[in-house]
Amino acid sequence: MVVAVSIGAVNIPVADVWGILLRHVTGRGATGDPALDQIVWTFRAPRVALAALVGAGLAVAGAVLQTLVSNPLADPVVLGFSYGASLGAVLVITLGGVALGGLGGLGVSGAAFVGALAAGALVFALGQRQGRLAPTRLVLAGVAVGYVLLSVTSFVQLLATPTELRTVMFWMLGSVAGAQWSQLPTVTVVVLTSTVVLTLFGRRLNALLAGDESATALGVDVNRLRAVLLVISALLTGTVIAVAGGVGFVGLMIPHLVRLTTGADHRRLLPLTALLGAIYLVLVDLLSRTVNRPNELPLGILTALLGAPFFLWLLRRNKGLDTV
């Protein structure tokens, strides 16, 4: 991560980065070049930290959702959370605070968070029947809600000016360029707590792999488990999408990468997924600001472009998938 901080539009020697970081953390040491200090401490360090948190959060949410709805394609996008966030963000970007009153006051992040949770609540409500959350119904409800939100979002975009459209597009493809230290405490707490709590549920998530009825016979209250974990995943997703926009593919790919290499035991899978998700997004962010210096590419473009080929290679190599 320190290396990631040192590389960018201006390359700064790793040793200097260490010095600047240490001085800010410990409060001691010589004051160096204030410009470098500002680049490292004010812009890059929070950015790298945020990329790590967002990557971890999205990957963990994806891993849990895939198990919850017994569907390898599930992720925050498929379950509609991301589209809810997009709609919230796009509404604020294009219509601004004027037309929206209270919602406008939330800012883009706040609106995205509210949108993700609202979408989650809607999917939750539509995905249940007689109090039972059936996996297939949840996925289909998520996809349907996603499409509706997407069409509303598209309609709103028609009303937007070209400048707003560009902002919308950048938001939807995701970026951590605007990271600030003030955002980090909340995101850190949410991502770390969710990852720990979800890992504690690891044994029960494992049981869910055996099927709903078998999990019940193993003493797991399947319906309650699904409800609790869906709420945690929606919160987690909402929090990270709110600060980073619609970064896709991480939630889908990273969990599978970890599963294919180290197995599906959630007590191992979730921490490793968080770690790999963090590393991956830090790298992608690093590339996003270096390939086309000094311009930046949105994260969403690179996550899939880089990840998909590697993912496909791993898929072809894995024999276990042939027999399912």
């Binding site: 017994s70 390898p72 504690l200 549920f201 044994r203 029960r204 494992n206 049981a207 869910l208 792999l209 055996a210 099927g211 709903d212 009825e213 078998s214 019940t216 016979a217 193993l218 003493g219 797991v220 209250d221 599963r259 294919l260 197995g263 599906a264 035991d265 024999k319 276990g320 998938l321 027999t323 399912v324």
Partner: protein, 278 residues
Amino acid sequence: MKLTVDQLHITLDRKQILRDVHLEAAKGDIVGLVGPNGSGKSTLLRTVYRSLRPADGVVRVGGDDVWELSARTAARRTAAVLQDAGTTTGLTVTEIVALGRTPHHGLMGRDGAEDRDAVAEAVERCGVGPFADRDYATLSGGERQRVLLARALAQRPRLLVLDELTNHLDIRARFELLDLIRTTGITTLAVLHDLDLAARLCDHLVVLHEGAVVAAGPVLEVLTPDLLRDVFGVRGATERHPDGVVRITYAAQPLAFAREPEPEPEPDPEPQPEPAKR
């Protein structure tokens, strides 16, 4: 552990599935649950492993109403091998067997010596050691069922519930599984489609027909020609062979009894074989 089902009524989507079902399995007994498709066998099992809460009636395991127990306590008493396959890709055989330890832990629980012992014993007993590190998805049908049985045994249950354990298996795999169950000595309630297998495995049979128990007792007393005809729609007889195995002999045209007697059809005029043209 003793299993008692009493005055059980189940209605799903306004359709009555089970009517006033009574069933008992004494400690160590193997009770077979048989009946045609749709007779309510799987539904009855669901009430036993605490997946379906009956509006009327009670299921007791070891004397306690299963719905008075917590899900985890109930699962420490009762283990089930069911038909739902789940999506167990990515788990090794050992990891699946270890799922049996789920009800023995809360959220904070870590695996201890007892868990490792239970898993090792179940692996050994079911003979799944040779492929312990393989992915479940790569196993054959017979191997898979042995793994699932090992998972159930790792639960250290005192009641086993089995739903069509031997479906789609070759004859040798079937016999091996049945022998395995007999040697565990655990009280067992098993749904079996194949009456021959049921007769071979079970001490007692309970016959479900259209949601009600129509016969219960020792195998030979239950599988009478009348019952085979009325419930299963086949003509057959059951007898104990000198080797101790109960066998059912089915008549050549089992469907004859399933239908209302019809007047003898006019014999079709035999189609004359056409003279071979050369």
